[in-house]
Amino acid sequence: MENVLDIKHLSMHFGGLKAVDQVSLTVKRREIVALIGPNGAGKTTLFNCITGIYEPTLGDIFISPPGGGQKRINGKKVNEITERGLARTFQNIRLFQNMSVLENVMIGRHCRAKAGILGAILKDKKTREEEQDIIERSYAILKKLGLDAYVNELAKNLPYGAQRRLEIARAMATDPFLLLLDEPAAGMNPQETRELDALIVRLREEENISILLIEHDMKLVMSLSDRISVMDYGQMIAEGEPAEIRQNSKVIKAYLGEDFHA
C-alpha cells in the first residue's frame, strides 16, 4: 500500500542536543500509526518537524496527497503544510479561547475558502454562498463529533474532554488526508478515552484518512493502532504491530518500571 507520509533519516538538533536523531517513519493510506516513547523522547519535536513549526536539520519528509504525486515538505511554512492536507492537534490544548466553538471549526475551513477583502465588504453572492457552506460544513463536523450542543459557546467554557474533541474537529475541518494527534487522550477519564477510541476509528472509516498519533495511554494505543513506532532519546528503537511491540525487549527496557499489559 502507498505511503502517505514517508520520513527518511530525519534529524532535529537544538545546539548540541539531538532531539530527533535519524528517525524514519511511514504512514500508509488509511492506517492508524501510534508513536510512543517515554517523556522527552522527541515525539512532539518530530510532530513539529512534520507540521513545519521547526525546520529539520537533516533528512526528508515526503507526503503523497490523494491527488497523486510525492512532495518533499521540509522547511515549508506551517500553513502551507496544512493546505497540503496535514492537520494536527496540540498536546497542550491550543483552542481559540474567546471564539465560539463553531468559529473555531470555521477557522479550519479558512484555507479551503477564497473570499477576500472585497468579498467580505461587498457580500456578493459568491461570498455569501461560500460563507454558508463554511457554516454548514463546520456544523456538520461538530455534529459528527458530538459537539453540536455547544455551537455558540466560547471555546474556553467547554469541559476538558469536549475541548480535546474540538481540537480534532477543528483539524478535521481543514480536509486533511493525514491527521496528527498529539496526546488526544491526555487528561481524559476511561469513559472519555473509550469514546475517543471509537471516534478515531470512525474518522478513519468515514473520512478515509490516515492517522498518526502520540499517546501515553497504552490500552488505547494497543487497541487502536495498526502499527506502533517507539522513540527513545530521539531515536526510533522499534517499529511493528502492537503484538510485536509488546514483546520487544528494547521497548520494555525503555519503559522499565512501567506496566505493560494492555
Partner: protein, 410 residues
Amino acid sequence: MKHITALKNSLLISFWFMFLTFPIMVIRVNTIENVVEWRWMNMLYVGFGSFVLSFVWRYLISRKEAGVKQAAAADTPSKRLTERLLTDSAFYRPVQIMAAVFFLAFPLIFSTYQINIMTTALMYVMLGLGLNIVVGLAGLLDLGYVAFYAVGAYSYALLNHHFGLGFWAILPVGAILGALFGILLGFPVLRLRGDYLAIVTLGFGEIIRLILENWNEFSFGPSGIANIDRPGFFNIDLSLEQVTVYLYYLVIGLCLFTMVVVNRLKDSRIGRAWVALREDEIACQAMGIDKTKTKLTAFALGATWAGMAGVVFAAKTTFVNPASFTFMESAMFLSIVVLGGMGSITGVIIGAMILILTPEYLRAFSSYRMLLFGAVMVLMMVFRPQGIIAGVRRMYHFPVKQSEKGIGGS
C-alpha cells in the same frame, strides 16, 4: 475586625501617597526669582483622595475576583442582561433608532460650535474603529497609528497646495496611501512579538513626524501648510456655518460607511482569521492561515481609515502641521479603543464620545485630558480589560435539517 484592618490599610496608603507626592505636588520652585511655593493644601487633597480611593480600589478588586469565580461557576444574570442588550434586536433596535435620530438632528438643534465638536468626536470614532481592526481584532498593538493619520492629512494638504486637487479626489487617495504605508511598515515589523511591535510602531510614528518637521522642502517644516480647501459641494459656495453642517453630515456618512465595512469584515473569513491570530498564533498557522498575509491585511485595512480621517482632518481645519501628529494622538486613539472595548464597534463609538466630549464639555477637565486618558488605560486594564462593551462573537442558529450534510460531500 475586618473593617479596622481596612481602615488601617487605607490610612497607611493615604500616608504613603502624601509622602510620595510631596515634592512634586507640594513644592514648586521658581528658580528665576528664587522663591519656593509651598502648597500644603495639595497634600491634604492627596491624603483624603487616596484614603477614599483605596476603599474603592479594594472594593473593585474584590468584586473582580468574585467575578472571576462566578464566571467560572456559571453565567451570571447580569452577563446575560448585557448580552441580551447587545444581541437581542428588541433591546438594541430602539436604542439604535434613537441614536440615529439624535445624530441626524444634531445640526438642527445645536450651535456651530457644538457641531464642530461633534464632528471632531465622530472623526475619532472613525479612527477608533480603524485602530480597532488592528488592536481589537488582530491583537497587534499599534502605537504609531497617528502616522497613517498624518499621511492622509498631508496627502490632501500637499496635493491641494501644489495641484489644487479637491477633497473628493483625494479622499480615496488618502485611504490608499494610508493602506500602502500600512503595508510598508507591516512588512518588516509583523514578525515581531507583540511588545516589540508596539515599540517599533511607536518609533515609526515618531520618524514620520520628525521627517515632516525637518524636511522643509517637502512638508514646509514645523510651520505646516495653511489655506487648504474645504470640501466642495457641487461647486456651490457655502458660508462657514453651512460648511460646518456639511462637514458634519459628511463625517456622519463616513462613520456609517466605516461601521458597515468594519462590521462586515469582523464576521467574515478574514475577520475570523484576525481574531484567531490574536488568540493563538501557532494554532492559527496550523489551521492553514498565512500569518504574515493576515497581519498585513489587518494593518493595511486599519491604516486605510486613518488615511481617510486624515484627509477629513485637513479639510476640516484647513491647516496641518506636524504638531497635530504626536504620540499623544496615538495614545488617545488607543484609549478610545481600550475604554470602549477591544473588538466592539458599539464600544468604540461610546469610548470616543466619552473621551472626546467629556474634556470639551467639562471645561474644568480639559487640562486634565491626558491625565484622564492615562488613568483610563490603567484602570480599564486592571478592572475591565474587555472595555465598557465587550466584543461579542456572532451567534449562529441552525434549523435541524442542515445537519444531514456530511463532511466530505457538498
